[in-house]
């Protein structure tokens, strides 16, 4: 049990160190760019495809339910609220945790095992700043943007699915989608994914950076990164939702 607290403490210190060293020179902009491309751009196909499929499927489900009440006009609203409030942020978080978290865990633990981190240190480069901080920063920046991609591709998938059954016009679909939106329904859930990104970056980097068990450790670091960051995202989401309701009471439906 004390081991859990020890790890929690280590991770916290690790994350805190990342935040503080972010504001010290050198800023490693090149590395941040590199990671942004790796984490953001390369996740786009996955995120867009998932969002599109989810949107189409969700509309099929809500349609069959809402038709019972004669409330088909609400399909776009339900769809948009579901996506922007919860499905978008959470699914993006989990997808990125799967794709990027495992990558970070594997890459860093492999670099440790093959002495690449030592090599970097021997060049007087702060390996933490060089390897860890850019990954955390990139995750934190990329997640909200990826979430938007998933939200909107979900909306598009929902629209096409709805169009197939009711020939609803795009303008009307969009207008109905945002009919019940508050400001905070839009930006609060989107921005909360930055926290998810920070969690994914921190946990995966921690596990990769601190693992020094050779080739076997690489696989374990990758798996543990995904499991731990996925779990933590879902737990933190619960608190974040409560927190958002507290800050923006009108966003509670």
């Amino acid at each position: 049990m004390s081991n859990v607290f020890e790890i929690a403490g280590d991770v916290s210190v690790f994350g805190f160190r990342a935040v503080t060293s972010l504001f010290r020179r050198p800023f490693e902009g090149e590395q941040i760019q590199r990671q942004l491309a790796e984490i953001g751009s390369k996740s786009l196909p996955l995120v867009i495809a998932s969002g599109f499929a989810l949107g189409a499927v969700l509309t099929l489900h809500t349609r069959s339910t809402l038709v019972t009440f004669g409330a088909t006009a609400w399909i776009p609203t339900v769809q948009a609220l579901a996506f922007f409030l919860e499905i978008g942020p959470l699914v993006t978080g989990l997808l990125v945790a799967g794709r990027v978290g495992s990558g970070i865990g594997a890459v860093l633990s492999n670099m440790r095992a093959t002495e690449q981190i030592d090599a970097i240190e021997s060049l007087s480069i702060d390996s933490f700043k060089f390897l860890v901080v850019p990954r955390i920063v990139a995750c934190t920046l990329a997640l909200p943007l990826l979430t938007l991609f998933l939200d909107f591709s979900g909306l598009l998938g929902g629209f096409l699915s709805e169009y197939a059954s009711s020939r609803l016009s795009f303008r009307l679909y969009i207008s109905r989608s945002f009919a019940s939106f508050e400001w905070s329904n839009f930006y609060a859930p989107t921005l909360k994914t930055a926290v998810f990104g920070f969690i994914i970056g921190t946990i995966s980097s921690f596990l990769g950076y601190k693992t020094n068990e050779g080739a076997q450790g690489v696989g374990r670091a990758a798996t543990t990164s995904v499991v731990a960051s996925s779990l933590l995202i879902i737990l933190v989401d619960v608190f974040l939702i409560k927190f958002i309701f507290f800050i923006f009471p009108e966003s509670a439906l």
């Binding site: 890459v107 002495e115 021997s122």
Partner: protein, 246 residues
């Protein structure tokens, strides 16, 4: 003699332990400029730790380490970077950065540790790659290189800073005889052409005999023999004698 002055690298009663495991126990030796020192010993006797102590990746528990005029165990990070600029490190598996091309791997230390411009760096990189026989592989990713090429690439990265001290961790490990002797040749050439001090950690006795002006033998963290190859062959220590005669 063991005061650092005139030496490229000097260990002065250095001890290091990880947890309860004592890796180095009161080790002292020195390497003069332009001299090649081979550190022999069986696996797990603290040979690699010795090299990491020199570049200050780890700090000793006791004792002092001199690199030229600087006692490095208590240097600040900015001072260390100045000291590290004098040294090149060839890691056991080359430790090339997976995500960078060969060119970028070589450019990183140049751009990070020296104030050289892009053009100057390009010139140096071309020269070094030519030297190790990888002139046509600038754009290649490390994963596409063979073991021997990786080792040469690692050597190239160690050489771009034109080091006065070259550290090599098991330069022949994982390589066939011919390839490993090619690496040995490259090391010797560097030593002869630039008067570079070599510290080579190895368990390859043949290579050590060929490369080393002097040999030190480590066993269970202690330095048990120090001298030329012939001297070690007739050393008092049975372990050392067995090691070099196989």
């Amino acid at each position: 003699m063991i005061n650092g002055r005139g030496s490229a690298v000097a260990f002065d009663h250095v001890s290091k332990s990880f947890g309860t495991k004592q890796v180095l126990h009161d080790v002292s030796f020195d390497v003069r400029a332009g001299e090649a020192l081979c550190v022999l010993g069986r696996s797990g006797t603290g040979k690699s730790v010795t090299l990491k102590l020199i570049v200050s990746l780890i700090k000793p528990d006791q004792g002092k380490i001199w690199v030229e005029q600087d006692e490095i165990t208590h240097l600040a990070e900015s001072e260390l970077s100045r000291v590290r600029r004098k040294m090149g490190f060839l890691f056991q598996d080359a430790a090339l950065f997976d995500s960078l091309t060969l060119y970028e791997n070589l450019a990183l230390p140049l751009l990070r540790l020296t104030g050289k411009s892009q053009e100057e760096a390009d010139l140096i990189i071309d020269k070094v790659l030519h030297q190790v026989g990888l002139a046509g592989d600038k754009k290649t990713m490390p994963s596409e290189l063979s073991g021997g090429m990786r080792k040469r690439a690692g050597l190239a990265r160690a050489l771009v800073l034109e080091p006065k001290i070259l550290l090599a961790d098991e330069p022949s490990s994982g390589l066939d005889r011919i390839t490993s002797s090619e690496i040995d040749d490259l090391l010797l050439m560097q030593k002869q052409e630039h008067n570079t001090a070599l510290i080579v950690v190895t368990h390859d006795v043949r290579g050590a005999k060929r490369l080393g002006d002097r040999i030190v033998v480590l066993d269970k963290g202690r330095l048990i023999a120090d001298g030329s190859f012939g001297q070690i062959e007739h050393s008092d220590s049975e372990v050392a004698r067995n090691l070099v005669t196989e």
